[in-house]
Structures are given as structure tokens and as C-alpha cells.
């Protein structure tokens, strides 16, 4: 490839950038930011599939008006995410941005998006700062604040009468928040509290500590790949049989396909499960499995709800996105049939919802799946809502 | 910066071993100020090792080196070079990506003490260019100053090598086979040049071209297995039986 050709290639590329339509009034533009490349792509893909399930069912419409969903890959790089947000807002002139996978990306884009009076309908990341002091009227989070799930675990541990629990977590903010949440509600004694480095491939050292401590149960926060490694090695160490494993992120729809039988018996906390019994959820799970032939994950469900939320709001405003107050009121009303059954927004515009404890078991179809075993938190509002100035 | 004038150099009981083999074996030598002193000896006699010890690129296992009356045994290469004890290399060692002028300018620059000048363009700095050109003229490369080194013939590179040494205003020059791989004509030029330079510097010369050595040297020292076996005027060395023995078959080469 010689230089002139190189240059001409660049030129045409630049031309292509220009070619992108600057103004298209007709459809409502929705930006969808998620991790779509690299190891984390599995999460982002789930979010996108869940969201698009509704959009495509309605023939590219939400609330009866055509929508154009612009998918962007944040690459787990905050600086890139900020760039993409700038593009979506300044270039594409979107009025709603949804998705957002990781909390560091959420923290980076939260201010620019809400400052621009663009609605941020997050369907996964829910870091504590934006649930509390930094909350914004333009944020609507359809997922949950991590601590809530942790507190559900704590309550459940009490219900089960565990006296001594060993805590493990990945060494970053979410990990610390999460173990903190557990300790708030758990009444028993904490055997030990261990934080492990991010992307630690091997947990043998920690698992030996667990075995030595002989706790009644283990509570661990390991998202994604970390979770897979942890649960496998937990099982191989023979601990799954002797010591109940309460986890967050480690055994959910995204990791079970990789874990399979290795995860049987482990517990997970979430505001949604595939077996929750309501018509909306039945429809969602069935359609999702038919369309993508895999079990929908929590992330897919929350994104599906995000789509439903936008759908309901646009229906109320007749597709008018320019009257921000009207649209905000419509979103705040959350007038849709959530896959979780009931769904309301708290003052910090995180959901008020039930939190379930699910155990990994083989379902009717003989697949390794999540089975709801308890509901330790009912109509629960996360603790950070109090710190949020909004009414 | 003392103006270039020879300084005395001497070694006492110098020893250097490489994995058992002794390259320099209790060498005692004196290089008088202003003399051209040649080191000869069969291959592997440890001539280059001695040069490396003198220049500081090797540290001796025992013994001492005195230069201009001071003990410099533990001085680093660059310290010795700054004090005027400068070497050239057997295998040409220059900066191929630069022009001849730049090569020599780099040498001139290192005389100026430090080079922490960040903005002034060296390409228009007479304080660098003039001495550099002078050195190039001296070795007869003035015309090629602007050419990049990699366009240069081998002989010319050897001359450049010498120009860089001269540009450092040395008091003692350690020349490691300056004639190596030169054509007859080139060699003659170089010999003529060295003859011109004699007296103005102390020169320690390692060279295989015996004709050149015997025509140039004020004194010779014969190294065998790292030990100086004889030292004296060309005449004395010629007639020294030990030297004949040492050189055996090479006897003819001596004549």
C-alpha cells in the first residue's frame, strides 16, 4: 500500500464521515452505548439484543413512532465513551441515550449527557454516586444499585441462619460497595474480607483461605470472566458441596453457558429472573429464546424494560421529544408492564422493586438455569436515594 | 581545555584475565610525552586488550594506570576522554546516519564540557563547524564534509575516525590499527598524516603493517602473551633475539 493510495483512502474515509446525514427529523434518534468489542462484548450484546427485541417486534417503532437506534461501542474506555456521547448529542442530535455497561463509563458520560438535557436510560451500570448526591433529573436507570442486591444477600443469609460468612470481592469500587451492602444487612459474623486483584486468573490462594476458615457460607462479588474462574475453582476445591456460595455477577445468564454444571447450587441475587411469573416476562423470555436461542440474561431483561419504558413515554408524548418536561414526566410515570412485575421509580429515578435470590438448577428443559428461591427484599428503594436531592 | 600537547602515560603491573586466559600479564610500560610508541606482537598478544585497558573500556584485575602524573585506573571511559586520553577503533566506529561534518562536530561538541543546549541549531554554529572542518581538512576529507558517512569508502572512514579523535584535542591518542584494511595508497596517506602529527601528541599505536610501524615509531614494545618482552628503538628491536624467537616465522615480516 503506497502513500498516495493511502492518502486517497483517508480522503474517501473522511468524505464518508461527512456523508453521514446531519439532520433526519422523521425518526426519534436513540443512542445505545455498550461494550460491543473485546471480552466484555457478551454483556453489551445482551443489552442490545434485549433492547432491540421490542424495537423489532414493533417494526422499528417505539410508542408508535419510528425510532432509529444508533449503536456505539464504548470499548471500556471512558475517554472514548465521552467522545461517542459528544457524537450522539452534537452530530446525531439524539434525545435519549440507553445502554451503558460499566460504571466507570457511566461515571464518565453521566455529566455530559445530563448537562445536555439528554435522557440517560441506563440499563445496567448503577454506580452509587449517581444514585445519591450526583443524581440528575435526566437519568432513568432500569437496572439497580448494586448494594441493593448485596443487601438482599445479607437478608437471605440471616433467613438461612448463617452465623459466619466469608466475603470475597474484586478490588475496585463496585466490589467494595457491594461487600459493604452485604455487611449492612447481615447480622452474623464476618469470618474474613478478602479483595483480589482485577483480572486475577487464579483463586487457589483465596480458596485455601476459605477452606481454612470453615465458614457457614461464602459471599463473593465477581462479574463476568472473574466469576467464571472463581465458581469453577470453587467447585473444583469441593467447596460447593460443603459451603453455600452466595454470589453476584458470578452466576447469571452471561456466565452460566460457560459454567454449566459447575455452577449448580450457587446462589445469585437479582431484581429479575427468567422464571418470574407474569405475562410480560413469559412473552419476553419466550420471544428472546426463540429469536436468539439462548436464555435471556438480567441485562437483556433490564434493557428490554428500558425499551418498554421509552416506548410507554413516547406513546404518552406522541413522539414529541422536544418538550423535555413532558417527556420526563412520561418517563417518570414508568407506565409499562415490566418483566419484573411491579416497577416504580424512586426519587433518584432508580427502580423501586423486589429483589430475589436465585439458585442455579436444571430447569424443565434440562438446561442449567436460575430458579427463584426467596424474595428477601420487597418494594425496596436503595439506600443512596436518601442522598439524592430530587423529590 | 589545554591546547593539545603530549602527556605521559604509564602502566604498572597491569593484569587482565578472561576466563582463565591472561590477556595482559603484569605489564609495566611507560609512554613518554610526545613520543609515538608502537605496540607490536603476534595475534592474540593482547595489544587491543591493552588499548581497552588504557581507554578504560576494560577494568584491570590488578595494577595501575597513570596519566599525566595522576592515577586514572578507576576513571571511566568518558572521564579519561575528557582529560585528553582518546582512542580510535580497530573496526571503524562512527555514526553512519550522520554526515562526516556532523560526526566530527559531535566530537567537537563533547569538548565543550556539556551539551545541554536545546534550541541553538548546530547546523549553523561556527563554534562547532569551524573546528570540525579544520579536523576534516587535516585528514584530507574537507571536500567530503557534507556527505553522509554511509557513502564513504573504507579508507576514508578510517581517516574520519582519526579526524574525530583529533577534534577532541587529545594529549594522548590510542590508535588501534589505523591502517587496517586500507589500500596501499590510502595507507601511505595515513602514514604521511601520522608523521605530520608526531611530536604534537603522545601516540600509542597498535599496527600490523610492520613497514609503517618501523618508519613511524620512536619506540616499540613487543607484547607476547600479554607480557612486554622487549622495548626500545626500532633499531634495538630489530636486532633483539628474543623478538626474533617470539615472531619465529614472522621474522621476514620484521625486515
Amino acid at each position: 500500500m503506497n502513500m498516495p493510495r493511502m492518502l486517497s483512502a483517508m480522503a474517501s474515509a473522511a468524505a464518508m464521515l461527512l456523508a453521514a446525514p446531519a439532520s433526519a427529523q422523521a425518526p426519534v434518534k436513540i443512542g445505545f452505548i455498550a461494550e460491543l468489542s473485546g471480552p466484555q462484548a457478551v454483556l453489551g450484546q445482551d443489552q442490545y439484543d434485549g433492547f432491540m427485541l421490542l424495537v423489532e417486534r414493533n417494526g422499528g417503532k417505539l410508542g408508535g413512532v419510528p425510532v432509529q437506534v444508533l449503536k456505539e461501542d464504548s470499548q471500556l474506555k471512558p475517554e472514548v465513551a465521552v467522545q461517542l456521547v459528544a457524537k450522539l448529542i452534537e452530530k446525531e442530535r439524539v434525545s435519549i441515550i440507553s445502554g451503558v455497561t460499566f460504571s466507570n463509563v457511566m461515571m464518565a458520560i453521566h455529566k455530559p449527557v445530563t448537562d445536555a438535557k439528554v435522557f440517560l436510560v441506563g440499563s445496567l451500570a448503577g454506580p452509587s454516586p449517581i444514585a445519591g448526591a450526583q443524581c440528575s433529573p435526566y437519568q432513568f436507570i432500569t437496572s439497580f444499585q448494586l448494594d441493593a442486591a448485596a443487601e438482599a444477600h445479607g437478608r437471605y443469609a440471616n433467613e438461612r441462619g448463617f452465623k459466619k460468612v466469608f466475603l470475597l470481592g474484586a478490588n475496585y469500587q463496585a466490589g467494595k460497595d457491594f461487600l459493604g451492602g452485604f455487611k449492612r444487612t447481615f447480622k452474623g459474623q464476618v469470618a474474613d474480607e478478602v479483595y483480589t486483584a482485577m483480572n486475577a486468573p487464579d483463586f487457589s490462594a483465596e480458596l485455601t483461605q476459605v477452606a481454612a476458615a470453615k465458614p457457614d457460607a461464602v459471599f463473593a462479588f465477581y462479574p463476568g470472566a472473574l466469576g467464571i474462574n472463581f465458581v469453577r475453582q470453587y467447585n473444583q476445591a469441593g467447596l460447593m458441596k460443603t459451603t453455600p456460595l452466595l454470589t453476584q455477577g458470578a452466576v447469571d445468564g452471561s456466565t452460566l453457558p460457560a459454567l454449566k454444571e459447575a455452577a449448580l447450587g450457587a446462589y445469585n441475587g437479582a431484581p429479575w429472573g427468567p422464571d418470574i411469573d407474569n405475562p410480560s416476562n413469559k412473552k419476553f423470555v419466550e420471544e428472546f429464546e426463540r429469536k436468539y436461542n439462548r436464555i435471556p440474561t438480567l441485562f437483556a431483561a433490564q434493557s428490554y424494560d428500558a425499551a418498554q419504558l421509552i416506548d410507554s413515554a413516547l406513546a404518552k408524548t406522541k413522539g414529541n421529544v422536544d418538550n423535555k418536561d413532558a417527556l420526563r414526566a412520561a418517563l417518570k410515570a414508568a407506565d409499562f408492564a415490566s418483566v419484573r412485575g411491579k416497577f416504580k421509580f424512586a426519587n433518584n429515578q432508580f427502580p423501586i422493586q423486589d429483589y430475589f435470590i436465585q439458585q442455579v438448577a436444571t430447569d424443565a428443559k434440562g438446561r442449567v438455569n436460575l430458579k427463584t428461591v426467596a424474595t428477601p427484599l420487597k418494594d425496596f428503594t436503595d439506600d443512596y436515594a436518601a442522598k439524592c436531592a430530587m423529590k | 581545555m589545554s591546547t593539545a600537547l603530549g602527556a605521559a602515560l604509564g602502566v604498572k603491573g597491569l593484569v587482565k584475565r578472561f576466563r582463565g586466559l591472561t590477556a595482559t600479564d603484569h605489564a609495566d610500560l611507560d609512554f613518554a610525552a610526545g613520543e609515538l610508541h608502537a605496540l607490536i606482537g603476534p595475534n592474540g598478544a593482547g595489544k587491543t586488550t591493552l588499548i581497552n585497558l588504557l581507554s578504560g573500556e576494560l577494568q584491570p584485575d590488578a595494577g595501575s594506570i597513570t596519566y599525566d602524573g595522576r592515577d586514572i585506573t578507576r576513571r571511566s571511559v568518558d572521564q579519561r576522554a575528557r582529560s585528553g586520553l582518546v582512542r580510535s577503533y580497530q573496526i571503524t566506529s562512527v555514526f553512519p546516519e550522520f554526515t562526516l561534518l556532523q560526526n566530527v562536530m559531535l566530537a567537537v561538541q563533547s569538548l565543550a564540557g556539556h551539551s545541554f543546549s536545546f534550541m541553538r541549531d548546530t547546523r549553523s554554529d561556527p563554534r562547532l563547524i569551524e573546528p570540525a572542518l579544520a579536523a576534516l581538512e587535516l585528514v584530507g576529507l574537507g571536500a567530503q564534509a557534507a556527505l553522509p558517512v554511509d557513502t564513504l569508502a573504507h579508507g576514508a572512514r578510517r581517516q574520519l575516525e582519526l579526524a574525530m579523535v583529533l577534534a577532541l584535542r587529545p594529549r594522548v591518542m590510542l590508535l588501534d590499527e589505523p591502517l587496517a584494511g586500507m589500500s596501499g595508497a590510502e595507507a601511505d596517506e595515513m602514514v604521511a598524516l601520522l608523521t605530520r602529527l608526531k611530536r604534537r601528541y603522545t601516540i600509542v599505536l597498535v599496527e600490523h603493517d610492520m613497514q609503517a610501524v618501523f618508519s613511524l615509531a620512536d619506540r616499540l614494545t613487543v607484547l607476547v602473551a600479554g607480557r612486554p618482552i622487549a622495548s626500545g628503538t626500532p633499531e634495538a628491536i630489530r636486532n633483539d633475539p628474543r623478538v626474533r624467537d617470539a615472531y619465529l616465522g614472522d621474522a621476514q615480516e620484521l625486515m
Partner: protein, 330 residues
């Protein structure tokens, strides 16, 4: 041969075209009503600045640092931490960043410059990783989640909050650094630095202690990276540990080598090509048949990878370096 005749070859034309294009971006973005391109090009220039800094040690000094993101991070967190304590003055931010950055660079450099080759690459990486873990541990400043910055540094009359102003500030920084470098390369210091790369043994034989010159060069290039970090924090109004990740150090190396190391504008070209390509492949719907466009949109990293491989194999001196220069590099 006192002065070299500055005749123009493809290389010079390309450089000038690039610079004048950069100068016109805001006007053009205004004209077509696409302020977004302004922030895109701003980001390109900020990273290009860091790459130019790296080029000083990498291209001219021959020191392969796989840890320059460290200094980007120092710059970013200087802004982040100070603003989080209510200190908004840009001059304070800049001063603090440069002081801390230089101190760190001097200390680190004093250690790492004792090694060379592979060991040098790894030890630079090691220090960057350590710094990364330190920042991730800073719970008070957001830890892994990073640190929001309320408003851009306050430089008095220079209203960084205005995108075009910020753009031109970044552009001026880039041009200033490039100009400085163009002087430095031919200065005595520059000659010694390059001499040390080409033939360290001979430099020593001529009485030049290479270590201290390398150290100064390392600190200088770190300061440039720090500056770029300060700008990055202002651009994104965010300071994140990911600015310190080894992957970013790697990307900087890619930019330098891709564009052509040891050439003035090479890193800028490298950064521009890499980031524009990334932008196009990852999100622009290319007119391709058979769903190939979506495949590329999803797997654009592979295309970039292939591009890097091809350029490395076919252009020994990088995109910009391969252009014939009109000037005898004297």
C-alpha cells in the same frame, strides 16, 4: 553545507497539508454544522501530543518506553484531584502536573535507564502498572470508576469551555511542542541524544556520559505526556485509571511507529490515521454487500490489526517516514 536547503518533497507537503487542515477544522465544522468533529479532532491532537512526546525518547533516543501512559495519568489526575478540592486555576493544575510529573520521571528514569533492550521495555511497563494499581486504590478519588471533573481548567481569558477555543489551545500546544522538537533535534542536545542511540560506545569514547542526556530526554518527553494528560482531563472532564493502562502505552507506541518514528510529524500522522480509522470502522455504516459492514462494525479491531500488520511489513519507516523528504536529512 552550513545551512541545508529546505526544498519541498512529499513529506514536507504532507506535513503542511496536515497542519493547515488542522488549523481549518473548526471553521469547517462550523460550516457544516458538525461541532462533533471538533471534539474528535481535539482528542486526536491530544493523543498525538503524547505520541510526539514518546517519539522524543523512542524515535530519537532509541528508548522503547512501554509506560508513557503513566505520565498521561499524572497530568489527568493532577487536574482531577485539584479540581475535586475546588482549585480550578489552570495554571496551578499545569504547574502541579509538570512538577509532579518531572519528579516522578526523574526518579523512575534514574532507575530504568540502567537497563536496556527488552529489560527496559518491561521495567517501564512495570512502573506504569504500579502507578495504575495505586490510582485504582485511590478510593477517595473514585478508584476504578474514575473521577468526574466539574468544569475545565480556568485559564482566565482563555475560555476552555468554548470548544473552538479549547481546540486552538490544544493545536497551539501541539505546534509549540513540534516546533520545540524541530529545534531540539538539531541542537547539541539533540545530536548527543541521537548519537547515543546510534553508537553509545563511541559517544563514551568521545567523553560523553550518555546517561544524563538520556535522563533529561526522558523527563522532557514525560512532561509532554503530562501536558497531554492535562488536556485529556479537560477534554473529557474526567480522570480515569484507564488513562494509565498499559494498553494506552501500547497504542502510543503504535501511533509513533505507524506514523514513522524519528520523524517530526510522524506521530501526528500515526495518531490521526489510527483514530480516524477506528472511528470509521467502528461506527460508520460502510457501503458493503452481504452484511459485511456489520461484521466490520463488530470486529473492527481485527481490521485495524490487519492494517497495522500490513503497514509494518510494507513500510519500514512508517506511513509518514516512507514519504521521500525533499531535504537531505543533514
Amino acid at each position: 553545507m552550513r545551512r541545508t536547503i529546505a526544498s519541498f518533497g512529499p513529506r514536507e507537503w504532507c506535513a503542511c497539508a496536515l497542519l493547515s487542515a488542522l488549523a481549518l477544522v473548526p471553521v469547517w465544522a462550523q460550516a457544516i454544522g458538525e461541532p462533533y468533529y471538533l471534539s474528535l479532532v481535539t482528542r486526536i491532537m491530544v493523543l498525538a501530543l503524547a505520541a510526539v512526546g514518546l517519539n522524543l525518547v523512542l524515535g530519537y533516543g532509541g528508548m522503547v518506553s512501554l509506560g508513557h501512559a503513566l505520565y498521561l495519568g499524572v497530568g489527568a489526575y493532577a487536574v482531577g484531584i485539584l479540581s475535586s478540592h475546588g482549585i480550578s486555576s489552570g495554571w496551578v493544575h499545569l504547574a502541579a502536573a509538570l512538577v509532579v510529573g518531572s519528579a516522578v520521571a526523574a526518579a523512575v528514569g534514574a532507575v530504568i535507564l540502567r537497563t536496556s533492550g527488552m529489560a527496559f521495555i518491561m521495567i517501564t511497563l512495570a512502573f506504569a502498572q504500579m502507578a495504575y494499581f495505586v490510582v485504582v486504590g485511590l478510593k477517595a478519588y473514585g478508584g476504578e470508576d474514575g473521577l468526574q471533573i466539574d468544569s475545565r481548567s480556568d485559564f482566565g481569558v482563555l475560555q476552555l469551555s468554548s470548544a473552538p477555543v479549547f481546540y486552538y489551545v490544544v493545536l497551539c500546544c501541539l505546534l509549540a511542542v513540534l516546533w520545540g522538537l524541530s529545534r531540539l533535534v538539531h541542537s547539541r542536545f539533540g545530536m548527543v541524544l541521537q548519537g547515543a542511540r546510534i553508537n553509545e560506545r563511541r559517544m563514551a569514547a568521545m567523553g560523553v556520559p550518555c546517561f544524563r542526556y538520556r535522563l533529561v530526554a526522558y523527563v522532557l518527553s514525560a512532561q509532554i505526556a503530562v501536558l497531554s494528560g492535562v488536556l485529556m482531563a479537560n477534554l473529557t472532564k474526567f480522570a480515569s485509571p484507564s488513562y494509565m493502562q498499559w494498553t494506552l502505552s501500547g497504542e502510543l507506541i503504535v501511533m509513533v511507529v505507524l506514523g514513522g518514528m524519528g520523524t517530526l510529524a510522524g506521530p501526528v500522522v500515526g495518531a490521526a490515521v489510527l483514530l480516524v480509522l477506528e472511528e470509521i470502522l467502528s461506527s460508520v455504516k460502510l457501503p458493503l454487500p452481504g452484511g459485511l459492514d456489520t461484521v466490520i462494525n463488530n470486529h473492527w479491531l481485527a481490521v485495524i490489526g490487519a492494517f497495522i500488520v500490513v503497514v509494518t511489513l510494507t513500510m519500514e519507516r512508517g506511513l509518514f517516514g516512507s514519504l521521500r523528504s525533499g531535504r537531505r536529512s543533514a
